[in-house]
């Protein structure tokens, strides 16, 4: 019981007491769309370049690979693409980075 209460206190202090342990896939797809757009690509083009190795070593590569992992390792690229009408939902970066995760 003490551990349970301590967990609750810890979660409250972290400010994530209401956070779920998964997010809607659309949220991640929207982020891919936003990241690509900030770098001057469509999401499709960014993912194509990623697969072709043309983004190697760029911060965009890490940001995209991480999101593909969060979407599911076997997710085909087409499933990572945003659907029309989606709303970008990327948090603002503290630094002027073009590829904030």
């Amino acid at each position: 019981m003490i551990r349970f209460l301590q967990d609750l206190v810890d979660r409250f202090r972290r400010g994530d007491s209401s956070k779920p342990d998964s997010v809607p896939p659309q949220e991640i797809r929207d982020e891919i769309d936003e990241l690509a757009r900030r770098n001057g690509f469509s999401a499709e083009e960014a993912l194509r370049r990623l697969e072709a190795g043309q983004l190697d070593g760029t911060p965009l590569e890490v940001a995209l690979r991480m999101r593909l992992f969060l979407l599911g390792e076997d997710a085909p690229l087409s499933s990572a693409l945003p659907t029309s009408g989606s709303t970008p939902s990327v948090a603002p970066s503290r630094r002027p980075s073009t590829t904030a995760l």
């Binding site: 911060p59 992992f69 599911g72």
Partner: protein
């Protein structure tokens, strides 16, 4: 004994605390890490927040930034018992522009490693530079995947302290801080599991 917990998030939080403690003790007191959930159950990313933040590294050689990102997956063993695995890591050392191309990057991608196809080593280092001897065509180190072992964050910090002469926040206790961190990780993840 790997990191185990009653929930996937509990495992990730233990690891987050470990990484945050290492960075905050040595390089940047204000570093804040977050465990960000994925769309797939039990998958998480460990990132510095605000998103896109890198660790500022002051050295007599100049100003640098270290970006640290990992993906984690908690494997469900049985009800209320999960075991944590690192699936990918990216440690990137940038020059004065944290958004620019990294000078050195240590990478690990367990997911992309398929031993049946021609793929570069899953643990590798890449860097900005060229190698050349005699009249050979220069080798572009940015394109080569020079193999490494599983690189711990502590090793990267040790490299910054010894080779970049970075002054660690914990001063003379830094070898002990890093050694303890490495011992904890090796206890969690024996070599065979990496």
């Amino acid at each position: 004994m790997p990191i185990e917990g009653r929930s996937a998030r509990e495992c990730c939080e233990e690891f987050r605390k470990h990484v945050a403690q290492i960075i905050c003790s040595t390089l940047w007191r204000d570093a804040t890490f977050k465990v960000r959930p994925g769309a797939i159950e039990n998958r998480f990313a460990l990132v510095l927040v605000p998103y896109g933040t890198s660790v500022p590294v002051q050295s007599p050689l100049g100003s640098f930034y270290l970006s640290v990102s990992q993906t984690l997956e908690a494997e469900k063993k049985r009800k209320r018992q999960y075991v944590l695995h690192t699936r990918q890591y990216w440690y990137q050392l940038h020059g004065p522009d944290p958004a620019g191309e990294p000078l050195i990057r240590w990478e690990y991608d367990k997911l992309r490693h398929d031993p049946d196809t021609a793929q570069p080593p899953r643990n590798h280092i890449q860097m900005d530079g060229k190698l050349s001897q005699g009249d050979m065509e220069p080798l572009n180190l940015k394109r080569l995947h020079v193999p490494t072992g599983f690189v711990l964050l502590e090793e990267v910090i040790r490299f910054l302290i010894t080779d970049f002469q970075v002054q660690p926040l914990c001063r003379e206790s830094w070898p002990n801080v890093l050694r303890k961190g490495e011992a904890r990780f090796r206890d969690w993840a024996p070599l065979a599991d990496r």
